[in-house]
């Protein structure tokens, strides 16, 4: 069943390149299910058309039919509005709504057209209200939404970690003019000022000065020009700097000052550049004055003038730095162009209360930053046409911080930022491309009864490969590039082509086999002395974790021989391990039991059944309550919450300790809220957070490469933590100074806290 929709479009007078054809089948693929619409019609070149729809995923092999509410936003050049409306009309079969929410300065111009074409009543919403609503929404729901732009730095984009506390902030919206809005709370904002010198001035005046019609072309001219030929600089007046005021010679004293005195021709490029500087500086200055007056330090810039254009982001950033001496940073938003449409939709969907859910960006359906930027990758631009898309999935649960994070505001899940680390980026992009064949094969194999699976798998291959190529050119397209984002993108793409769980059969098979060994394993462990057992348990978890179908090195070595625990221990390196705090852990285990342990589990099969469960059993026997956190949705061969429920029942049937644990509610299964092979502790299921607080959790165990190495390796918790993983990638092992199958066993006690009575702190 479908949910809703939103549109953002921009009427402009210029005509588009008609050779670009509309690829509507892909763009509007979920339209049939759309329940609600909104449209944002700007006064600009680009329009955003947003749809919120639910996609009915009809994969038959899936246990249940998934219904995911999804926000679709499509930006397109306004020349397409009629074509798009026609398409919508033809495909809009089951819409229940008779009203379309519209916002933007151009809404009234297109009102008639929309009403005529779609037979829907256009309901106008205030532009600024929509904009702010949209802004709050993306800031809260999309990690790495905001970024600082630094043209000459190693990585041009420095993404900001999501801070749940987004207010207050200043939004400087640069459309045709400039609006400066102070936002203090979800529904509390005020336009505190503005300026008429904005994008329209750049475009209008630029067109007059250079006879160049298009906004993009003007920007391109500007990027090639030298403003110093047109502007009068301080040094043109002083011959050097104006030392006593600290004004350097290169400062612009008078914009266009030279064209007033010098009787000569000025180049288009130089004039465009001068104009760009003039307008950016002016806006930056006003923004600073307003920020100062209202004592605000977070200033976001948006509007079509910015919209991913590196030139304007650079000049604005420069201006802000200059006027505030670095005290205020200019922040930009990845999805800035969608804010109006998102807001309009949210207005229309208020009855569905979209703000009560958490949403996640769908990497498969989103174009990423700068997909339409004139400066970037023209080839790719041609391929995507002139469309830019954002899709967001409604997550079933609300996501919150793990209450045990030491400092939520500085927590960064990812260990390596591939946007900054070029070598690592190169390797991982290569690695994921190499692995693609295998993933495609597995996807096809997972749906043997479906004839078109091969076709879909091929489409998946193309899509993911294209994403990898995009990321090679624009590593920042979806925020900071990380191993996690690469993995998540792959999952999203697989999902997109109805391969939601390619490992489901393998997982099942492995679980069945591993279960047969469970009792034997437990028995052999019980025969060991206490100290031997502790070590065997740890080795068991590590050895179990080696069986990860997601890691290439392991797949090569032991595809078939699903062996007993003891057999695969040969892979593990001897102690001392790469990171080895086993002795401290052992000492701790000799002490009083923990109150409650939160265990983030990894793979199905041997890992969970023969590695994790015996470990859990030991904790339970010691009197420690255990909360097992597993993925809400499938990712690789990771055990999902649903699967774990079944597995635990089956184990309980064999094992009185586990059975008692379940019965007495001392063993609890919760979902993490994630469908990723990695783990973001700042986006966890609200229920999990609640349980963690209620049970006074004093130990967090994180297992596996994705959750403990690629992410959270440096995560600081306010209670004891144990991170266990085997490095199953030789490049990564090398980087960390170890060999393939090196072991990381990282037991940490927060500074200043004696391990014996680690208190459960619950910062919210």
């Amino acid at each position: 069943m479908a949910e809703c929709s939103g549109i953002d479009s921009n009427p402009s007078s210029h005509t588009m390149d008609k050779s670009i054809t509309l690829p509507p089948d892909e763009i509007f693929r979920n339209l049939e299910n759309a329940k609600r619409f909104a449209i944002d019609i700007g006064t600009w070149e680009l329009k955003t058309f947003g749809i919120i729809a639910a996609s009915d995923k009809l994969y038959e092999i899936s246990v249940q039919e998934e219904v995911t509410a999804r926000l679709h936003f499509i930006k397109f050049e306004n020349a397409y509005i009629e074509t798009c409306l026609d398409f919508i009309k033809d495909h809009l079969v089951n819409t229940e709504t008779k009203v379309i929410k519209a916002t933007g300065g151009g809404a009234h111009k297109f009102k008639e057209l929309i009403e005529r074409k779609l037979g829907l009543k256009v309901d106008k919403e205030d532009e600024m209200t929509c904009l702010i609503k949209g802004c709050n929404f993306v800031l809260k729901n999309i990690p790495h939404e905001a970024f600082v732009y630094a043209k000459h730095a190693d990585s041009e984009f420095r993404f900001q970690t999501t801070n749940p506390d987004i207010f207050p902030y200043l939004l400087v919206n640069i459309g045709s003019g400039v609006s400066i809005v102070k936002v203090e709370a979800e529904d509390k904002f005020e336009r505190i000022g503005g300026s008429s010198i904005g994008g329209g001035t750049f475009w209008g005046l630029g067109a007059l000065l250079t006879k160049t019609k298009r906004f993009d072309e003007l920007l391109q001219l500007a990027s090639k020009g030298q403003h110093t030929n047109v502007d009068m600089l301080v040094k043109d007046i002083y011959g050097g700097s104006y030392g006593c005021l600290g004004l350097t010679g290169d400062l612009i004293a008078s914009s266009f000052g030279k064209s007033a005195t010098a009787d000569k021709e000025f180049s288009k490029e130089d004039m465009a550049k001068s104009l760009l500087h003039m307008i950016s500086n002016d806006i930056g200055q006003l923004a600073c004055l307003y920020a100062k007056l209202h004592n605000l330090s977070r200033v976001y810039f948006g509007g079509f003038f910015i919209r991913g254009h590196p030139v304007t982001m650079h000049t604005i950033t420069y201006s802000i730095n200059f006027f505030t001496k670095g005290e205020v940073q200019a922040l930009f938003l990845r999805h800035e162009g969608y804010l109006g449409a998102i807001g309009a939709f949210l207005k229309g969907a208020e009855e569905d209360n979209p703000n009560q859910y958490s949403w996640g960006e769908n990497y498969a359906g989103s174009s990423g930053l700068m997909s339409v930027s004139p400066d970037m990758n023209p080839m790719q631009r041609a391929r995507s046409g002139t469309f830019d898309m954002l899709e967001m999935d409604r997550l079933e649960r609300q996501l919150v911080n793990l209450p045990l994070l030491q400092d939520p505001s500085s927590y960064i899940p990812d260990t390596v930022d591939l946007t900054e680390d070029a070598l690592a980026r190169e390797y991982w992009l290569y690695c994921f491309e190499e692995a693609l064949d295998g993933v495609v094969k597995r996807a096809v194999a997972s749906q043997p009864d479906m004839l078109e699976a091969a076709l879909r798998a091929e489409k998946f291959r193309q899509k993911y490969r294209h994403k990898l190529q995009t990321l090679r050119h624009q590593p920042f397209a979806y925020g900071s590039l990380t191993v996690r984002s690469l993995l998540d993108t792959r999952e999203h793409c697989l999902n997109e082509f109805n391969f939601p769980d390619p490992y489901s059969k393998i997982k099942q098979r492995e679980n069945d086999v591993a279960l047969k060994y469970y009792q034997k394993a437990v028995k052999s462990l019980e025969e060991l002395s206490w100290e031997e057992r502790q070590f065997a348990l740890v080795r068991g978890v590590l050895a179990g974790n080696v069986f990860d179908w997601g890691a290439k090195a392991v797949s090569d070595k032991c595809l078939i021989p699903l062996c007993a625990q003891t057999d695969c221990v040969v892979f593990l390196s001897e102690r001392p391990w790469l990171v080895d705090s086993y002795n401290q852990w052992l000492e701790r285990m000799k002490g009083p039991p923990h109150k409650c342990a939160l265990f983030f589990v990894d793979n199905s099969g041997v890992d969970i059944i023969l590695g994790v469960m015996p470990f859990v059993r030991e904790l339970l026997s010691r009197g420690t309550e255990v909360v097992l956190a597993s993925n809400s949705g499938p990712a690789l061969n990771d055990v999902t919450n649903g699967e774990l429920q079944i597995l635990t029942e089956r184990i309980a049937a064999m094992d009185p300790v586990i059975q008692a644990g379940l019965r007495d509610d001392r063993l609890m299964l919760v979902q993490s809220g994630s469908s990723s092979p990695c783990l973001d502790l700042s986006r966890l299921d609200k229920v999990l957070a609640m349980v963690v607080r209620e049970r006074q959790t004093d130990l967090v165990i994180i297992e596996g490469m994705g959750r403990a190495i690629h992410t959270n390796y440096y995560a600081m918790l306010s209670c004891e933590s144990l991170k266990m993983a085997v490095i199953k990638n030789s490049w990564l092992a090398d980087r960390l100074g170890g060999k393939l199958f090196s072991v990381v066993f990282k037991y940490e006690v927060p500074a200043g806290k004696p391990s014996q009575d680690c208190e459960t702190s619950t910062p919210s």
Binding site: S13, I197, Y238, A253, L286
Partner: protein, 432 residues
């Protein structure tokens, strides 16, 4: 002690005429001349480095030293800006027969040349209407003349100085503005003149306070516009700049500097913008093919900016009530020019008008923000951008009043662009 108060003391020694201008208040400008006896004796030509901002010396009553320390004629003050050179010249009218005899020919010729003409070369102009009559300066009475010419004609000026053997007069030429630095070596090599360079903001403030204090007859130096928001009833009214502090001083030359002035010696440059008079003229030249400020203004006065700018009502069909934006407000300067049809339908006059309105309003809004941040309610606009530019002045008056809901008052001074040059002249006569 005020400037002319000082003059009174001098009267007893120099048989000068009774001063015609009385200071408004002696307390108004405490310690105007702060010459240290030591530095005066030690530096007859050269002056202590301008460091007035921290200067704390007290005024000193002198009588007999005036004659000795009074610099030789001619007395000039010069402000070399990015676009215009502003020159003030003091013409002594109390020359005795004896002096006349002693006066060298070169000096006479310069005096005659400057005072008998109102235009010099192709571009030099004397603003006769600004001339201050019977002013007493440093014990001498005479007229203060206000002359300007474009900075790019400075070579011609230097050539004239060379032809008239200006350097033989051994005068010190006090100069401020960026050009004082940029062209210092040209003055030396082309005209054999040594410049005494002065800080432009120091000079500006000194000049403003001085001129305001000495002008008491004729049109008031300071004025404002009454009923700025009602075009039909908007009239220029004299304003008495008593207790001027704190005030925001906005100097609109090629670029714009905004100063917060708390007392004569205590001020700071709050900010500035590169969108100033140079931008107006530069853009007008490019957009309309005009070549002078006067031409640009003339065109602007005939044009209609609403054909060029996109107004709030063009977007919202009326007021944007949600945010209290009136329909007539400009939403996007030059915003209509995004459309090809509209680009083809506007006149040069419209474009000139829109440029003027854009630049002026922008200065207005930056000024207003500074006034709020600095908590100052009185704003004085000066600088040559405002010369013969009633349009901009009324716009500024309107903008200050409207957007501040009457809190801010825009004030203007008749000698708009000359204050820096006046400050430089004062430095010659009374080094700080």
């Amino acid at each position: 002690m005020a400037f002319n108060g000082h003059q009174r003391d001098d009267d007893t020694v120099d048989e000068d005429e009774t001063p015609t201008k009385q200071p408004r208040s002696n307390k108004e400008m405490p310690g105007y001349f702060r010459s240290e006896p030591g530095s005066e004796a030690a530096a007859p030509a050269g002056r202590a480095t301008p460091d007035r901002r921290s200067s704390n010396a007290t005024a000193r009553h002198r009588s007999d030293s005036v004659k000795k320390t009074r610099p030789p004629f001619p007395w000039f003050g010069m402000d070399i800006g990015g676009t215009l050179v502003k020159l003030v010249y003091f013409e002594p009218k109390d020359i005795t027969a004896e002096e006349e005899q002693e006066e060298v020919e070169n000096l006479k010729s310069i005096r005659r040349y400057l005072t008998s003409n109102t235009a010099y070369g192709k571009t030099g102009i004397r603003d006769v209407h600004l001339q201050l009559q019977d002013l007493t300066l440093c014990g001498r009475t005479g007229n203060l003349h206000f002359i300007r010419f474009p900075t790019h004609d400075l070579p011609a000026f230097l050539q004239m100085g060379r032809n008239k053997h200006f350097s033989s007069l051994h005068t010190t030429l006090c100069a401020t503005g960026g050009g004082a630095y940029k062209f210092e070596s040209d003055f030396r090599t082309m005209a054999d003149l040594q410049l005494h360079k002065l800080d432009e903001l120091d000079c500006l403030i000194r000049g403003v306070l001085y001129i305001d204090s000495v002008v008491s007859s004729g049109p008031s130096e300071c004025y404002y516009f009454e009923n700025p928001t009602e075009p039909d009833r908007c009239v220029q009214k004299p304003y008495t700049l008593e207790n001027p502090y704190p005030l925001l001083l906005v100097n609109i030359g090629s670029g714009v500097s905004i100063l917060a002035v708390y007392s004569e010696n205590n001020y700071k440059r709050v900010t500035g913008t590169s969108l100033g008079g140079g931008t107006f003229l530069g853009l007008c030249c490019l957009l309309t093919g005009c070549s002078t400020f006067e031409e640009a203004l003339e065109m602007a006065s005939l044009g209609e900016s609403t054909r060029v700018d996109k107004l709030v009502r063009d977007i919202y069909g009326g007021d944007y009530e949600r945010f209290g934006l009136p329909g007539w407000a400009v939403a996007s300067s030059f915003g209509n020019m995004m459309s090809k049809e509209k680009r083809e339908s506007v006149s040069k006059e419209d474009l000139a008008r829109a440029t003027l309105v854009t630049i002026t309003n922008n200065i207005g809004s930056i000024t207003r923000m500074c006034a709020l941040n600095e908590n100052i309610e009185r704003v004085v606009f000066v600088g040559n951008f405002l010369r013969v530019n009633t349009l901009s002045m009324k716009l500024l008056a309107y903008a200050m009043d409207y957007w501040s809901k009457g809190q801010l008052k825009a004030l203007f001074l008749r000698h708009e662009g000359y204050f820096g040059a006046v400050g430089a002249l004062l430095e010659l006569l009374h080094p700080s």
